[in-house]
């Protein structure tokens, strides 16, 4: 049995269902909305597992599901060494979001990461502590800033309402996922120029350990090339 993990609610679930339907596999959530169970039609030997998108990376790595739909951002943030455990089978063309760095738009002297590095140095000298960047994507942001040799900052954890941290003076900048940037602008924040830390979209992932004829047949059923070369 191939266990297929799909986000359990909202637009991400609906768009995932539509993506599979376009490929002849009909996924449905069971009649009662409170039950996270579902059915699979159009293919044999596949079971639907509805999960929070955030848990899908871990479930794939643990081998409790063979295939799963989740954001590339969540896989990269939550699974160190993810390529050793997971295969990125197919980007699905929805759920687009960028992980970006944003600063107060009143900082007219801050447009690039180099500006931020320079401001962080001044800020630390003036305030006696490191410039705070609020985020929940600790690993991705830290790796990005390390790769660009930005020092003099610290991350502060923010699991929600991250855009409000600057006005509340619990952070000087933020790193968060955004799709349109509207929330950022509404909170007086501006995205730094240059490529985002990560461009994420909903993606079909497979557990590397699940590679074999059964998953290969299912992937070909979806019109994909199987896992050869992945």
């Amino acid at each position: 049995m191939i266990r297929l993990g799909v986000p359990s609610k909202g637009r991400l679930m609906e768009q995932s269902f539509a993506w599979f339907a376009d490929r002849g596999v009909r996924l449905t959530r069971s009649a009662s909305d409170r039950e996270y169970a579902g059915t699979v039609e159009g293919v044999e030997g596949v079971a639907l597992v509805l999960l929070s998108a955030g848990e899908i990376p871990r479930e794939l790595a643990a081998g409790r599901i063979e295939l799963g739909v989740t954001g590339t951002d969540l896989v990269r943030e939550k699974l160190p060494g993810w390529r050793s455990d997971l295969i990125e089978v197919a980007p699905m063309g929805f759920g687009h979001a960028d992980l970006i760095l944003a600063v107060p738009e009143c900082w007219t002297d801050c447009r690039t990461l180099d500006d931020l590095a320079s401001i962080a140095r001044d800020f630390r000298a003036a305030h006696g502590f490191r410039l705070r960047i609020a985020t929940k994507y600790h690993r991705l942001v830290r790796a990005h800033l390390a790769a660009h040799e930005v020092a003099d900052y610290q991350l502060v954890d923010s699991q929600g309402a991250t855009e409000g941290t600057v006005a509340n003076q619990t952070a000087e900048a933020i790193a968060d996922i955004t799709s349109s940037g509207a929330t950022l602008r509404a909170n007086g924040l501006a995205v730094l120029d240059g490529p985002p830390i990560l461009q994420s979209q909903a993606t079909l992932f497979m557990a590397r350990a699940a590679t074999g004829p059964a998953t290969d047949a299912f992937l070909r059923r979806l019109g994909l090339d199987g896992t050869k070369g992945l």
Binding site: R76, P80, G81, W82, R83, S84, D85, P104, E105, C106, W107, T108, D109, D114, A117, S118, I119, R121, D122, F123, A126, H127, F129, R130, L131, H138, R139, R142, A143, L145, A146, H148, E149, A151, D152, Y153, Q154, L155, V166, A167, Q169, E172, G188
Partner: protein, 353 residues
């Protein structure tokens, strides 16, 4: 796999040698307050150290190195000169990136260390010769450097104070340092700043931004650093070879760059002392960029010893860290030099021999 007991045995032998060299043994805590380590090392340490929380003491770290607790212990009542030694585990996470390495590094391993708090210039030679003597039987090769040389070199460049300070600040970040140098080597471009929106948000206040904009405007009018200095700096950073060769090159470089003459003399005097302690400088490599890629930590003499397979980390490393003691001492600096040896790696070499 080498039993931990065997690694401990090697560690105890090193500890005995450090004691024989006049060091008092100390045993710092394993759980350390995270705040001073974070303030010192920044976010990099979070990627490397295990962080845990205590309901009363707050955020704690499993000891990622001994230097900070040893300096703190010394500051609470040690007199100079003082020699300390220790043996114990350090804990380092390996943040592995996208692919799990086939042979992950140890996340806990022993360090045997020796730290010498002394203003005396002979201290560098004493520590190096001690380590050299202990590691020679393992066929270890040594590389050395001097961050003070690079800091002096930058201070002596014909630059404005803001440019000089920016370079000094980023000396441990080679890519950023290089980009700054390249920017200073060409005429500045006056930057246009967009009009300020209404309102202000956040803790960084407007005056801070105004001051930075003024600095950027003034900087755009600064004439470029003459190309000859870029060449000299590039030549200096690339200096690498056996000590006698490099010290000769340094002497020549110092003829056109008087600001590094003192550092060059200091380096020669250090190796002369090392030679008097019985180590031939011709067998030691000096690399002017040694120590730049480590955490912001060493600001003077640096050294590392390699032995065993190429992919191994250095079996020993150390150096002078006066600036670190200045930060921990809130302005009161205690010149200090020291280093660590990894007994586990030596035990593996002994087992393989």
């Amino acid at each position: 796999m080498i039993p931990k007991r065997d690694k401990q045995d090697v560690g105890q032998r090193l500890l005995a040698a450090f004691r024989a060299a006049g060091a008092a043994e100390i045993a710092p805590d394993i759980l350390l307050p995270a705040e001073s380590l974070l303030d010192l090392y920044g976010e990099d340490i979070r990627a490397r150290a295990y962080v845990t929380t205590d309901p009363i003491r707050g955020e704690m770290m499993l000891r990622p190195d001994f230097t900070v607790p040893v300096v703190q212990a010394h500051m609470q009542g040690g007199a100079e000169p003082a020699r300390y030694c220790y043996l114990g585990e350090v804990f380092r996470k390996q943040d592995m990136g996208e692919t799990r390495p086939a042979h992950p590094r140890d996340s806990e391993y022993l360090q045997a260390g020796f730290e010498l708090f002394s203003r005396d210039a002979a201290a560098d030679a004493e520590v190096f010769a001690l380590f050299h003597g202990l590691l020679a039987p393992y066929g270890a090769t040594s590389e050395t450097g001097d961050m003070g040389l690079l800091l002096d070199a930058v201070r002596a460049l014909p630059l404005t104070a803001p440019r000089r300070d920016a370079l000094l600040h980023h000396i441990w970040r080679p890519g950023r340092f290089q980009r700054l140098m390249e920017r200073f080597a060409v005429p500045g471009v006056a930057r246009q700043f967009p009009p300020e929106p209404d309102g202000w948000s956040g803790l960084r206040d407007r005056a801070e931004m105004v001051a930075r904009i003024a600095r950027l405007r003034a900087d755009a009018a600064v004439p470029p650093l003459p190309a000859i200095w870029m060449e000299r700096l590039t030549r200096l950073l690339a200096l690498r070879g056996p000590v006698p060769e490099v010290t000769a090159s340094l002497r020549r470089l110092a003829e056109d760059w008087p600001g590094i003459a003192e550092a060059a003399q200091r380096i020669e005097a250090r190796f002369a002392r090392i030679a008097r302690l019985g180590v031939d400088p011709a067998g030691i490599v000096f690399d002017a960029s040694h120590g730049r890629a480590t955490m912001e930590y060493y600001d003077g003499f640096t050294f590392s010893f390699r032995a065993g397979p190429d992919e191994w980390p250095p079996v020993a490393s150390g150096g002078r860290y006066d600036a670190l003691t200045r930060v921990l001492g809130k302005g009161r600096a205690i010149p200090a030099v020291g280093g660590i040896i990894r007994p586990g790696l030596l035990a593996e070499m002994e087992a393989a021999a």
